[in-house]
């Protein structure tokens, strides 16, 4: 399993090497292309900035008032059976509704425990293997004019919960 950690270091440099190398071989204006894409990235971040400010303030208030602590303390009894840190439960639940709210909560965990702590790593992995369920379903089904979504929600929940369980197992397995 050491291999997986090792692999992590190689993915990004290799991706750059491959894409830029291929671009040069195909005589593409790689730098111009890069700048064009980077401009779009800039716009995307500027677009989410107001959302992030609003939500980080809200999460900050929840943290400062002690509500978050209250929630994770009251969940501790249940989650300790599964050896799952109760601090991450609100993150998993909020992620189903809103991605930016979950991001604010993730950052709050980073601040509290540090990104390299067990909680920091586990929540990073959970955040990257889950998606907003209700938002995605609402937008997509509204477009299609569908009212009865049949087994979509069940499937989405199963995939999400599987992601959380597998993340926890892997973390324990690899002692990250």
């Amino acid at each position: 399993m050491k291999f997986v950690v090792y692999l992590s270091d190689y993915i990004i440099p290799l991706l750059f090497f491959y894409i830029i190398g291929m671009g040069i071989l195909m005589k593409r204006p790689v730098y111009d292309d890069f700048i064009k894409g980077a401009k779009e990235g800039f716009q995307v971040v500027l677009g989410i900035m107001p959302t992030l400010i609003g939500l980080m303030v809200a999460i900050g208030i929840l943290r400062a008032s002690g509500v978050l602590l209250l929630i994770s303390n009251s969940l501790e009894g249940i989650t300790s059976i599964f050896q799952f840190p109760s601090e991450i439960v609100p993150l998993v639940i909020i992620k189903m509704f809103s991605s930016s709210a979950a991001t604010s909560l993730l950052l709050d965990l980073f601040k509290e425990f540090g990104p390299d702590s067990y909680i920091g790593r586990l929540s990073s992995i959970i955040m990257s293997c889950t998606e907003t369920i209700f938002y995605t379903m609402a937008v997509y089904y509204m477009t299609a004019g569908v009212k009865k979504t049949r087994y979509t929600l069940a499937g989405a929940l199963v995939a999400t919960i599987a992601g959380v369980i597998i993340s926890t197992l892997f973390m324990g397995f690899m002692k990250l």
């Binding site: 980077a38 208030i61 929840l62 997509y140 892997f170």
Partner: protein, 194 residues
């Protein structure tokens, strides 16, 4: 939905804080959180621009089209009810590729186009088709292989090696997607029987 969620968080926080005597903390946090959001966005500006720039170069060398074509045989298995040469195959494939590469903003418009076509194939029924269910379950199971944003957040908060979660996160993402796919296939079989 988000309007209620946001208001709820703030109101609950302030009411609870009033009882626990944390009003001073709340005042400081409100201001400092807003500042922190901006600091974070500055890190994000760097990482996201870098990633989007690289992806534009990737588009230039035809990597997206190549990957979309490679996905086609897989689509036949996942969406058996879609006619072979239908345009929706194209939409679904590019939606999935954009999601895999972490270009969520590019994935949504084409994903919505795919949903519209699926609705036409479903005779605009108000009940979702099996193909729609599969498409959404796979989308929600999270396809994004490289979580650039998470790596940016980790670096902002001082992780020693922000991308060291990459290996595990790719494995877990694959596993959760496989679970979503398996669920979709089984649910489709069961719903056809009844």
């Amino acid at each position: 939905m988000i309007n209620y969620l946001w208001a709820f968080m703030i109101i609950i926080g302030i009411v609870y804080g009033a009882f626990t005597g944390k009003m001073g903390d709340i005042s400081t946090t409100t201001i400092s959180s807003a500042k922190e959001a901006v600091t974070l966005c500055i890190t994000m500006l760097g990482v996201m621009s870098l990633w989007m720039g690289l992806m534009e170069v990737a588009r230039g060398i035809g990597l997206m089209d190549q990957l979309t074509r490679k996905l086609r045989p897989l689509l036949k298995v996942l969406f058996p009810d879609i006619p072979k040469e239908h345009i929706v195959n194209e939409y679904i494939a590019s939606n999935m590729i954009a999601n895999i590469l972490g270009l969520g903003w590019a994935a949504t418009p084409v994903g919505l186009k795919a949903m519209k076509e699926l609705a036409t194939l479903n005779k605009n029924s108000k009940i979702a088709s099996c193909d729609m269910c599969t498409f959404l379950i796979i989308n929600i199971s999270s396809l994004q292989l490289i979580p650039v944003n998470i790596i940016a957040y980790r670096s902002q908060y001082g992780a020693a090696n922000p991308s060291d979660i990459l290996g595990v996160s790719i494995l877990v993402t694959l596993c959760s997607t496989l679970v979503g796919v398996a669920f979709s296939i089984i649910a489709r079989k069961l719903s056809k029987k009844s």
